[in-house]
Amino acid sequence: MAAKDTVAATARPSLTFGATWKYAPAPEDSGQVRIEARYGLFVAGKFQPAKAGRTLPVVEPATEAVLAEVAHADAADVDRAVAAARRAQQRVWGPMPGAHRARYLYRIARLIQERARELAVLETRNGGKPIRESRDVDVPLAAQHFFHHAGWADKVHLAFPGAVGQPIGVIGQVIPWNFPLLMAAWKLAPALACGNTVVLKPAETTPLTALRLAEILQQADLPEGVVNIVCGDGGTGAALVRHPGIDKVAFTGSTEVGKEIQRTLAGTGKDLTLELGGKAAHVVFEDCAVDQAVEGVVRGIFFNQGHVCCAGSRLLVQESLHDLFVEKLLRRMERIRVGDPLDKNTDLGAIHSRAQLDKIRGLVESGVAEGCTLHQPAGALPAKGYWYPPTAFTGVGPAHRIAREEIFGPVLSILTFRTPEEAVEKANNTPYGLSAGVWTDKGARILWLAERLRAGVVWNNTFNRFDPAAPFGGYKESGFGREGGRQGLRAYLRFSGSFRQG
């Protein structure tokens, strides 16, 4: 990859990692983590092949090697899974005292902690994300989600004073490939705590940790049918969403598919929560702690290769700070290590798939074609696998595609503003409304801005923080419903006297 750092390269010496200094590799030992050649669906407590015998290959993004073949569920398989979930909800899980449901969820949390390393390695191999992230973020948070919601299972009646919530029934959950295990935990833990049973569809490309979680559910003796996992592509997801036997759909994924699901459920009276795309803005004021803000912006866009719905993909920096900030940011980007996700030094892992890589390339090309200035640090990328260097654009205007469309990759678009009012206007100038970041030393300005940013999560002098106690979810076309916290339980309960959805 040639240096394309067209503006700053002449102004200062560039630093190429791997050229100036050699880093000794620090690979996580992955040999102990077994991966079977074939995986089945998890239905009624047992692993079983798809009825029609179809399978899908699972590819390792860092090597393009096929890791395993996974059963590909069709409508008949979804049918079996929904029936199993219904039986389990009516006969076992629904009538079970909350305190007993809690015991199972606590067991699951502990088992995730005990098998953390195995899960982290598997997540990194299947998804391409750096082992540092799966080890320090995905897996611990997944365990915490089960632990947190285990504690809710016998306290649901305390969450909404004066109103007694009932389980909704059988929930169909469809999750994306960017945080496979963590999303499974976000979806399963509150649903189960509230007395529902679930049919979960992992993303087509990332079923391995969800299936490993199914082993953990077996290990925890979770009653059969409480959680069923059907793997497959969009067709499997559509069969689940359309199935007459489910009472609610919870979806995390693209806005386009979210709208399709909302249309599908229209008029059915079924419940729906959607966690969709984003185009979050970092608003950086001239009085911020600049080095911390640079770190936050880096964390905001390059975490998980930018495959994050709440990624801080737009940087709005106050005009007076622009040059200094961009200088520091580009320098910092040169120090980002791209490469083997299993190496503990790696900052930026593999792009998740060929399709995603093509999408990122296409949008970056549009940025160049529209006249924005591209900045990419020099440095070799591995020959095999899917890779993209950390990328920033300066000279971006609000009308450019790279400022409007969700890229879902390590690409930052830098815009400027003069006044706080202009920052609010630009930050809100998007159909999305998932998250935002504010960087300033003034408390009153943080609160003033936070009140005006139309986004469900506002990180102030920090970014990309997640916690099961903190509600997460979007405004506008980023979806509706919350995950986490007391407000998140609402998505898995029905109350007599409330309006109907659909």
Partner: protein, 285 residues
């Protein structure tokens, strides 16, 4: 001595604090009151109302809960003094005993008082401080969804409208409502009272007309952030609303359920049209 013929009133729309006839030049005579003319709103009237509402949103949602509460309480005061005319306007279209109509108006006034007092408690009841596992101050507040469409039930004509609109206003939203098609008089008269009860122009906008004609436009209007429609879930409505990920709810109440006081006084009717916002800030420095 003979009486002069009565002065007959045309009931007009209530948009942006003013009382326009429909831009379409159309009117209709409600089923129950053939001698009365009511302006019949068009798609363009709906669009105008949404523009008026959007313009009023920042002002209404930016007021303190205390201030919004006082305005809704003022509405109760104004309604109390106009009870008799509202009873007459209800009975003009609906076959109801004077006592039943009076009960409906009394309940409307009581709902105003209830919701007036709720305005400054919504944050306490729906927001939270969240104990996250790290050095962060973390809290969640609720904010209005924005401009919300309401399609009121045919019956109860006045209570149905007010019971659906008040919780939405409490959440800080502004409203464009389609009133009961066969019994619009009391609902449109309410507009005349809203205009003199300190409610800023555009916060509530009232349209009359044919539900079958206007509902698809409510569903597909991209600048309506939410939609609450009386009746059972409707596939066409939901499909059109999905294009802008609109928050859609259906108030599917049986006739008797409208007279259950607890049902009409619930946070469950506020919560669908507020958005939870979670703020993080480091505690360590």
């Amino acid at each position: 001595m003979t009486h002069a013929p009565e002065v007959r009133k045309t009931y007009k729309l209530f948009v942006g604090g003013a009382f326009p006839r429909s831009e379409s030049g159309r009117s209709y005579a409600p089923a129950g009151a053939p001698a009365v003319n009511v302006a019949r709103a068009s798609r363009k009237d709906l669009r105008d109302a949404v523009v008026a509402a959007r313009g009023a949103l920042a002002g209404w949602s930016g007021r303190s809960g205390y201030n919004r509460g006082q305005i809704l309480y003022r509405l109760a005061e104004v309604l109390e003094s106009r009870k008799d005319s509202l009873v007459a306007e209800l009975r003009a279209c609906v076959r109801a005993t004077p006592a039943a109509a009076r009960r409906e108006v009394d309940e409307v006034i009581d709902l105003c008082v209830f919701h007036a007092g709720l305005c400054d408690k919504v944050q306490t009841l729906l927001g939270s401080q969240n104990a996250v596992a790290g050095p962060f101050f973390n809290f969640s507040t609720v904010e209005p969804t924005g401009v919300v469409g309401v399609i009121a039930p045919e019956r109860p004509a006045l209570l149905g409208l007010v019971a659906l609109v008040l919780p939405i206003l409490v959440g800080g939203n502004v409203v464009v409502a389609l009133v009961s098609e066969p019994a619009p008089l009391a609902a449109l008269a309410l507009g005349e009272l809203l205009a003199v009860s300190d409610l800023p122009p555009g916060v509530v906008n009232l349209l009359a007309g044919q539900r079958g004609e206007l509902q698809p436009h409510f569903a597909s209007h991209r600048d309506l952030d939410g939609l609450l429609a009386a009746g059972a879930p409707d596939p066409a409505l939901g499909q059109a609303a999905a294009e802008s990920v609109k928050r859609v709810r259906h108030a599917d109440l049986a006739a008797a359920e409208w007279s259950e006081p607890a049902r009409l006084r619930s946070l469950l009717w506020v919560e669908p049209f507020v958005e939870v916002k979670t703020l993080w800030h480091p505690v360590a420095f």
